[in-house]
Symmetry: C2
Subunit: 135 residues, 2 copies
DNA sequence: GCTAATTATAGTAATTATTATCATTATTGT
DNA sequence: ACAATAATGATAATAATTACTATAATTAGC
């Protein structure tokens, strides 16, 4: 159930996300959408950003410092987080060897790449076993 | 200045980190070290975990859900986060092409790998320019 | 185009993770 | 042993996010 119902606030949030490359935090989105909807609440922004991410219409980027970032681009691409100012930038990268990945990334990026961290998402052995029992 | 001074609490925290593969949160470390030091405070655990990470004697792993995880292993390796239970596991991986990385990761992991996210760390173009001005 | 059903919102309170403060305690160089 | 200084424990404060709830907006059926 729980059929999705249109809301201007959500439309505005999505439009803002699609028209920026800033990888804004929820609070930044809030401040911008507030210009069109002065009474919008931060909770509404969070709810809709997470909703868009769950529907695959946005990406949520977990960062080591400050709040989570959101990205309207849904195609797979990498991000660079600045260890100096915390800004998140896009980085295009199609292939390469893991051992060379930092150098490779560095060559494809206007700034400087020192290191990277990669997290895989999936099921741990125990949950994989449990999921097999259920089906 | 600020010369580092030995503390039994920090030694115990480090020892615990080196002897587990659980990638514990600060709170989990706290609960374990509390058995040896019943009066230890959570702030002390956070302070020392961050100190160890800053000194390169531990790794801090930012996760999308729940608190940050800590790892006593300092050699470069990947992590898998379970989308089901949130557990963080080690994953060994030496090389491979980006496009094949999920399949490759899946073949090297007992559970199941569905996707991954990689974040590069470095300096954005503006901060890189600024750092050049300073030197 | 109304009306009823239901989802979304704004405003606020609550929660979670983490850091800051500070008086007291522990460590260390002399 | 003592003085200097770093670390601790306890607590308060902060930041990011989620939960709650009465009201408002949207939509499907008539």
């Amino acid at each position: 159930m729980a059929t999705l119902k249109y809301s201007r606030q959500r439309a505005s949030i999505k439009e803002y996300l699609l028209n920026t490359h800033e990888h804004p935090t929820a609070d930044t989105v809030y401040l911008h959408v507030k210009e069109e909807f002065p009474n919008i609440s931060l909770g509404t922004v969070y709810r809709n950003l997470n909703l868009l991410a769950d529907m695959g219409e946005a990406q949520k980027i977990t960062t080591p410092v400050g709040g989570d970032r959101f990205d309207g681009r849904t195609d797979f691409h990498y991000h660079v987080i600045c260890t100096c100012c915390g800004n998140v930038s896009d980085l295009e990268l199609s292939s390469g060897h893991i051992a060379e990945i930092n150098q490779l990334a560095d060559r494809h990026f206007d700034g400087r790449v020192d290191s990277h961290s990669m997290i895989f998402h999936g099921l741990c052995p125990e949950c994989l076993r449990n999921s097999r029992k259920l089906s």
